[in-house]
Symmetry: C2
Subunit: 364 residues, 2 copies
DNA sequence: CTCGCGAATTGGAACGGTCCAACGCTCCTT
DNA sequence: AAGGAGCGTTGGACCGTTCCAATTCGCGAG
């Protein structure tokens, strides 16, 4: 009996060394007993050590299969002081782009034998319960924050202790925390210059809210200015829903504005800050009797599957989220190796996807 | 020194009982030392025991805050023999409906202080690595399978040991495993009877693949038959993409078929097995010069945000996925309490969402 | 003054693994 | 024949927590 009871004359009677195994899952010791070897040897087999004889290896393997033994990850990580798990903090599962990022993340992490543990920050906010803490308690080996976090409280503190990477967001900037984000300004410039290149001179922008909306708007304005044009109009499209895009586009394209402009002064092209609001603009154009792309050119952003629908077939900026995920994984792996390296900030260049929603303007 | 070194005269010199704390995160003992109490007392404070004096409680709390102590979940679950974690097996994050299910699941599980650990089965399939196994190693307290699993290998075995619930799928049926699914047949009947109620007599169906597609098809056929009609046509729409729906609809609505039917014999309504293929049909109708809903009525399925886009505005069956998630959580909690209860199978009734893609047929 | 007695606090075993030093073999060298 | 080297195998400490039995302490009763 390896684990001898120090107080042999325990009052409770014959607590013999063999455990009663009260219907618990089998342990490494159970396997060892069954195979007639020591638990150390079982451990070696589990880790695929080459210094085990074939005979014993097979005996152990047989015992494992018969008992349906599964190693206990908690016990393992307790002594190994690593969990081979990275925590992924999502802010909103509904957003389709994050799936791409996740996919990219996964491809690399999996290759390094790390599992991803995901949590939706939006879902999991109960009173005083923050996620950075939960992940710290689980002793994840790394942390990835995908998208905009509802509150950064606790994150800064977690990032001090756990290798952390921010993916798909420009904030927050923390001391030892890398950041990989989409280059929204660049993407917006791409879209705008595409329209300019087609010959458009009066280009409007349906702007979005938040930091992302702002960056895309800045990119739009920069592109317009650098070509000697003035932005025809920048309209807030609100919450980024189809409804918001629709209303904004109606304001933009509807009956002449109070300034006294005539019909011909309406914009001939619209750059929307995302695909959904772009679809709203498409609906508005249709209702107003404008043909897309003959009378009005449209460009969206995010290249979601909406843009790929034949019925819509939008030109859209593809922000290469998969690449964002892959680079974030790369950063995380590097940082796990050298936790105190200086923070790296990267931008991933997007690309324009051209379909059928833009064309040269009709000669006026 | 509580943990005395048995070999006091170790060759390595003065390995005193106090750990060197090689930059490890603080433990309960560190907190205890700092607060001048025993580790047991710290443990009691952590669990909010009422039998601790206020003075000590505050001292411990102060030490915890100063050191930034976080309890180690692995150590805790090792002795507690529970993890307060349920594993969620997803087959495809890209599918939007599953987010709803997750949301429903979460609402209940969170209330019972259980965290969800998600894994995407599609992503995580490397050689010989199955997820049911990973979750078993993590000793999750419960398992939820969301959607169609790529391979059921290992699941049956896992379900023997861990309370398991299948959500949003009709298979597999396992001994002690509950199942909560959408009533697809009912939903399809709802959609079909809606069209019949509008006066349509020639109704076609764009069928989908897999068990889900089959059930919806059965519902369609049953509804048609029970109203004394014959299904006008059932066309395989393939993979469930927009392209597939488009092609199928073109076959259905295009130039007269080889059977010699005339134009008027084309169906006046189409029930598509999901929204995406329904959009494909919409595209086809448009290209063929058919107005929706005047010349052709359409009904989709899933009530995704596609259906809600003003430009598309599809009638669609809402399969109440949130409710599926909530009921699955309920089942899981029950089963965690009584693991050997007989398996329960529930169907959640869907509801029809009416928008603008269906109308009475024009008189012929 | 001593003897319970309850409340507060503590020591140590246990949880299920990994890892390391030590052990018993066999075989080879000197 | 004695001494190593190398290989396969083993015992036991240890990881950070919980839980239980035991201990200490102050205090009122006998």
């Amino acid at each position: 009996m390896e684990r001898s009871n120090t107080r042999a004359e325990a009052p409770s009677g014959e607590r013999s060394g063999t455990r009663p195994a009260a219907d618990r899952p089998p342990t490494i010791r159970g396997v060892a007993a069954r195979a007639g070897v020591s638990k150390s040897l079982v451990s070696l087999v589990l880790q695929g050590s080459p210094r085990v004889s074939d005979a014993k290896r097979q005996a152990v393997q047989a015992a494992i299969d018969e008992l349906g033994y599964r190693p206990n990850a908690a016990a393992r990580s307790l002594v190994a002081r690593r969990t081979r798990t990275v925590g992924v903090l999502l802010n909103d599962m509904r957003n389709p782009w994050f799936v791409e990022v996740l996919d990219g993340l996964n491809s690399l992490l999996q290759a390094h034998d790390l599992r991803m543990l995901m949590a939706d920050g939006r879902l999991d906010r109960r009173a005083g319960h923050d996620f950075a803490r939960t992940f710290q308690e689980l002793r994840v080996d790394g942390l990835v924050v995908v998208g905009t976090l509802p509150d950064t409280t606790g994150l800064a503190e977690a990032a001090e202790r756990v290798p952390t990477v921010i993916a798909g967001n420009h904030e927050p900037r923390l001391p030892h925390t890398d950041l990989v984000a989409n280059d929204d300004e660049h993407g917006a410039r791409l879209a705008t210059e595409h329209l300019i290149g087609l010959g458009h001179r009066r280009i409007a922008h349906l702007a979005g809210q938040g930091p992302v909306g702002e960056r895309r708007r800045r990119g739009f304005e920069a592109a317009v200015r650098s070509h000697g044009l003035t932005a025809d109009a920048v309209v807030e499209s609100g919450d980024g829903t189809e409804e918001g895009g629709y209303r904004a586009a109606v304001r933009l394209l509807g009956p002449p504005r109070t300034t006294g402009r005539t019909r011909t002064e309406h914009p001939t092209a619209v750059f929307a800050f995302n695909d959904i609001s772009c679809v709203g603009a498409l609906s508005a154009a249709q209702e107003l009797g404008l043909d897309v792309p003959a009378d009005l050119s449209l460009v969206g952003y995010d290249n979601t599957y909406l843009a790929r629908i034949r019925h819509l077939w939008l030109n859209s900026v593809n922000n290469a989220s998969h690449e964002v995920g892959r680079r974030a994984a790369r950063c995380l792996l590097d940082r796990m190796a050298r936790p105190h390296a200086p923070a790296q900030h990267q931008l991933v260049a997007p690309a324009l996807e051209i379909r059928g929603s833009a064309a040269p303007p009709v000669a006026t």
